[in-house]
Symmetry: C2
Subunit: 478 residues, 2 copies
């Protein structure tokens, strides 16, 4: 660990983020512009995210597979809106095995086209439907301005792709996966996202409708953290994905896709982190508990380490993810700072006096200082560790939810709206859907429509003054 | 499932393999030449392979990370032998975001160069060593002749990359990971590989020494199934991977790498499969047990399904991976053939008479027909299922080991050698190491030195007649 202090969030939120990602050893810059190296600590976090999501995908009937990285360039052009959206971001392979290729290949920016091609081959009849396949993959989008995790040339994600016999089923799937994302974000990552539909101008290139989960970062910017798309029959038409229905009639399928990426790590960092560093939710943290032995003399060391080894074994046996920091040559204080920077939810300290008294110290990452410390007897400590981790998980969600709700403001006129999105947080108001007005607002304030909000009854649009039944969240975003 | 019969192994082993991979829905051809789609059933097998290996990597102190897909072309040229080996196989990205790149990027064929670059940044002192990182990744090698799983343009693998302070430690790591591979192959995949060192001409481009696990397929060809490389200081020199030792002297690191890929799925198919299809080892099979309910009338259906549901719940609760084939419109016989093709180790049949009698039928995939069937009472069936799966796992290993040993022949002269490698299997003999002789043998017989074999004392080389202390396996290979 670098011993310099992090910049505070107040001083410079963007610097705080960049330096934290590097110093906590989540990721590093690579020699290729815009590509990142996800370091072991960051990848362990991603693996826990993967497990939590994969479980939910399998519980909703999805299976995993793997489709090729390389896609014939011509495939990208088959769906008109899709190519418009992605053509500017493609990485193109023109040579292979020392020869120029007859047709260039693109590195997948997303896989609707190649997967659609395979579905067209695999699907014959209604008996083959639905197809519910997910893949964990890397994709490449040639971004000009990059930021670790949030926007990188290559990133890691899962992309689910489904094909259905009816429009209704496909819509239900789109909504189901949006809810899976929201459930994961809220209950595993303690990120209190707001799920909802995107506007026409913000939807996925080629989709009929895009839904997303939107998270509020600690600088009050929004982060789109996962998306679920109802693709209608657009890709089925473009890739000829057809089936014989029960009446032996040939029909086009209805398809969906949904994705969540390593960007979500950015959501976790900026939802929970503070000036001391990361705060990771216990359900996803690579280490839930770090044990720091404290001693001066050799005979103290032996006594302390024998207790440390005993409880670390017990914690592992009981399914906790733990780290014993037995480094020599650095002080306990240094270790405390290091693991606070890395956001380990709970620290156990054990010193010679604890060994004598049969006690130990629990120190919470989410409540620093004395208020977060408890001195507990060894007896029953396993229960206490489990309980404290649950409390931390709950507290993180409660704090983030409170922060979010304190920074969402109802607006009914444009002046207030501007003040909110420029200085205070997110604006929530009645919105008469109009792409031109939306573009004007964006040009004027840099705020965009994040998602439509639940609405009852009717109101007056804060911008156009027109009557409307829709409400929407607006915010500046990553 | 296609109702045509597979070609037999005897008729055409290569056709048997290709058709089996497609019909068992392990993989499919993609529109891009030489790239495969790994279908859900194949990917589930790969996920089980990943779990078994990942556990072993973590138990030996390794952690996972992710390094970029794209590598500056110039990096590939920094290690002289490495570039000679890989230059002909590179896929090159020349354009990104609509612009020609200043320096082309290659898609990683392997990651020594990019990982070496990062290690040079991360390693300062002996305290940072060893570094033991693995990544699960896709790589691209522009192969001209491809075959599903065995040799594809894009494939999936893990690649471990380690850096050490001493030569001895690096050599120990190389051997440790070779043993990890052998342990995995033998005890999880029931593939009785022979581990050993490769000859100079067969080693990895840039390595000091390459070790591999070699498996014998049912056509007696060898399949290199995993490799572990001692890289000496070659890559440390090329990428400037240095550390300050305990005496404050700057030293070059010693590095290793090791990889096992989706090719291993080919090893499983061709070690165990028969004319009816796949036979998957219970430890890795996506489904260890398939339950086929048998009934004609509706009231039979209800009674049978109630037992099927009960035992399927119990099997899942007890950690078995199972599939209930409750498809309507196909006969039990069709289902039996289908799951035999797909290699599910154990089938449970339950019909109305079984329900009455409180019994069920177990049918082993490794022993077809009556000999592999047992009629057991419901009471204690969980124990019987577990025991039978263990027996199947053991039997697969025993059969494959016997097959391997029956097809390895000791040779002491070149005429016998030729007869063996051309008609019978693998040759094992005293070998005086000589690259030119090795090349002559390859040109003459298409057989290559697979690995050196354990040897005691001294003998006479079957080819050159020279005295030697080394023995080696030779065979034709994939």
């Amino acid at each position: 660990m670098d011993e310099k202090k992090l910049p505070t969030q107040e001083e410079n939120f963007s610097d705080w983020y960049n330096q934290l990602v590097l110093r906590a050893e989540l990721a590093d810059y690579s020699p290729v512009r815009g590509c990142m190296v996800v370091r072991p600590y960051g990848w362990a976090l991603w693996e826990n995210i993967q497990k939590a999501l994969d479980q939910r995908f399998k519980a909703t009937g999805h299976v995993n597979a793997a489709f090729p990285l390389l896609i014939p360039q011509s495939y990208m052009t088959k769906e008109k809106e899709h190519v418009e959206g992605f053509a500017p971001e493609l990485a193109v392979v023109t040579h292979g095995g020392g020869q120029e290729l007859e047709e260039p290949l693109v590195i997948r920016p997303t896989s609707e086209t190649i997967i659609g091609t395979m579905y067209a081959r695999w699907i014959q009849s209604y008996r083959d439907l639905p197809i519910l396949i997910n893949q964990w993959a890397n994709v490449v989008r040639w971004e000009m301005r990059t930021k670790l995790f949030l926007r990188t040339l290559e990133f890691y994600w899962q992309e689910g792709h489904t094909a259905h016999a009816t429009e209704q089923e496909a819509i239900e799937e789109t909504e189901r996966m949006l809810n899976v994302y929201a459930d994961f974000a809220i209950n595993e990552a303690a990120v209190p996202v707001l799920p909802g539909q995107k506007s026409e101008s913000e939807k996925f290139a080629g989709a009929k409708a895009t839904y997303s989960i939107e998270a509020m970062m600690k600088d009050t910017k929004a982060l789109q953290s996962g998306t679920s798309h109802f693709l209608g029959q657009n890709f089925a038409n473009a890739f000829d994905i057809k089936f014989l229905d029960e009446n032996n009639q040939l029909q086009y399928c209805w398809t969906t896709s949904f994705g969540l990426s390593t960007r979500f790590i950015g959501a976790i960092i900026m939802t929970h982190g503070d000036d001391q560093g990361l705060i990771l939710p216990p359900n996803l943290a690579p280490y839930q508990v770090v044990i720091v032995p404290i001693y001066r003399k050799d005979e103290e060391r032996a006594a302390v380490m024998s207790v440390v080894n005993k409880i670390s074994d017990e914690l592992v046996e009981n399914g906790f993810r733990i780290k014993v920091d037995d480094r020599d040559g650095v002080t306990p204080g240094f270790k405390f700072n290091d693991w606070e920077l890395k956001g380990v939810p709970l620290r156990i300290e054990i010193g010679p006096k604890d060994v004598e008294k049969g006690s130990l110290v629990l120190a919470r990452r989410d409540i620093l200082g004395k208020a977060g410390k408890s001195f507990i007897p060894m007896e029953g400590y396993l229960q206490a560790v489990g309980d404290t981790l649950r409390l931390i998980q709950e507290n993180l969600l409660a704090k983030a939810t409170a922060f979010r709700d304190e920074h969402i403001f109802e607006v009914s006129d444009y002046e207030t709206f501007k003040d909110v999105v420029e200085n205070k947080g997110w604006a929530l108001g009645w919105w008469y859907d109009d792409a031109e007005n939306e573009a004007n607002i964006k040009a004027d304030t840099r705020a965009t429509l994040r998602v439509f909000a639940p609405a009852e009854g009717e109101g007056v649009c804060f911008y156009s003054g027109k009557k409307t039944k829709q409400r929407a969240y607006f915010a500046r975003s990553y």
